[in-house]
Amino acid sequence: MARKAKAKASEVTPEEKIKRLERKIERERKARVDAEAVIEEQSRRIHEANENLRLSNKDLEASNEELAKTMTQLTSAELQRKATAITLMVAVVLFIISEFAVEPVLERRVQSTYALVMGKLAILGLLLPTEIIVSRLLENQVTNADSINEEMYLNLLMSAYEDGIITDMERTILNSSRKQLGLSKKVAEDLEDKLKAMI
């Protein structure tokens, strides 16, 4: 049957053949134009999608910065709280030592009131610088950016290790945070080892 159709077709005159070919060319031309229109439309859509991606990326970066700032503030406040607590504890300990250990001894041994007052002043003179040194040291720690960043990284590590394993996603986040916080690989590894030893 196919042969029959072919046989019929071969009977066409040259003029008829030209007409057929012209029609075919016209169809092909139209198909090409349609294809170009589709591609143009797709390019436009891709461009729009790209533009949207760029904008939301910008938004993300801004919120990321905001988040980092908040985290620094929080971590710094946390360290400040710790420092205050330690300073207070040192003061209490020093007070107890002077009040219950040193002073009763002095009172028993030293009879003259003058000498006693002088002795107490001497103890105070010794204790005060100790406390000042301790609080200075702690304050130094609190305002030290490195220690804040390390503390922040440690917090991230702890939340990552909450379920006991680090997923690929968590590792990627940790690595990019490490770079953002400006911590060296060595410091980060040490922190991680320290945390692992703790759990």
Binding site: M1, K4, K6, A9, A35, V38
Partner: protein
């Protein structure tokens, strides 16, 4: 329906029956697209039905036989054009099972608006029997069957296929029960 199906159909008609036949059936049919198709376009599936019916009248072969033959031809073309979907499949059943969850997912990534038929494939008897259910409102189960036969041929398998018509008013549902011989 994706333009690639139309292009392949015209190409098959041209290579099998000659350019004059394809010109005749396009000219004798009233097609919204005018019979010019691009692979990246989308056209109403009724145009394909019109073309197949015109070809059937022209060469005096039943429509279902033509659609089936086109399905087999299309499988060979897909194999050439998209070999990645066929790699790693040792049997036709394994490939058929991947159509809905792998091939069509990829097609939808490129053409989110593509209206694809549903293929629900379930394996039985340790991979010896495959229940392959075709769901579509386009009524091209014969095309699906042609594609399946193309697959059986490609993997050198003899498969006995029984049909069960479960069609509803809105769509054609055909269950192909395929038994590996």
């Amino acid at each position: 329906m994706k333009g690639i199906v139309f292009r392949e159909f015209i190409d098959m008609v041209e290579s099998t029956f000659g350019e004059d036949v394809s010109d005749d059936i396009i000219e004798s049919s009233d097609l919204p697209s005018g019979g010019s198709y691009t692979a990246v376009g989308t056209y109403s599936h009724t145009e394909l039905v019109t073309l197949v019916v015109a070809l059937s009248e022209k060469i005096d072969v039943p429509v279902s036989a033509l659609v089936h033959a086109f399905g087999k031809y299309l499988f060979g073309r897909f194999l050439e054009l998209f070999p990645v979907f066929f790699e790693g499949h040792e049997t036709s059943f394994s490939f058929l099972c991947s159509i809905h969850d792998v091939v069509h997912v990829e097609v939808l990534k490129l053409y989110p608006e593509a209206g694809l038929p549903d293929f629900i494939a379930t394996m039985h008897d340790d991979g010896q029997t495959l229940h392959f259910e075709y769901h579509s409102h386009r009524h091209f189960a014969d095309l699906a069957r042609g594609l399946m036969d193309g697959a059986f041929e490609h993997w050198n398998e003899t498969v006995e296929v029984e049909l069960e018509d479960k069609s509803t008013d809105e769509k054609q549902i055909i269950l192909f029960v395929c038994k590996l011989q």
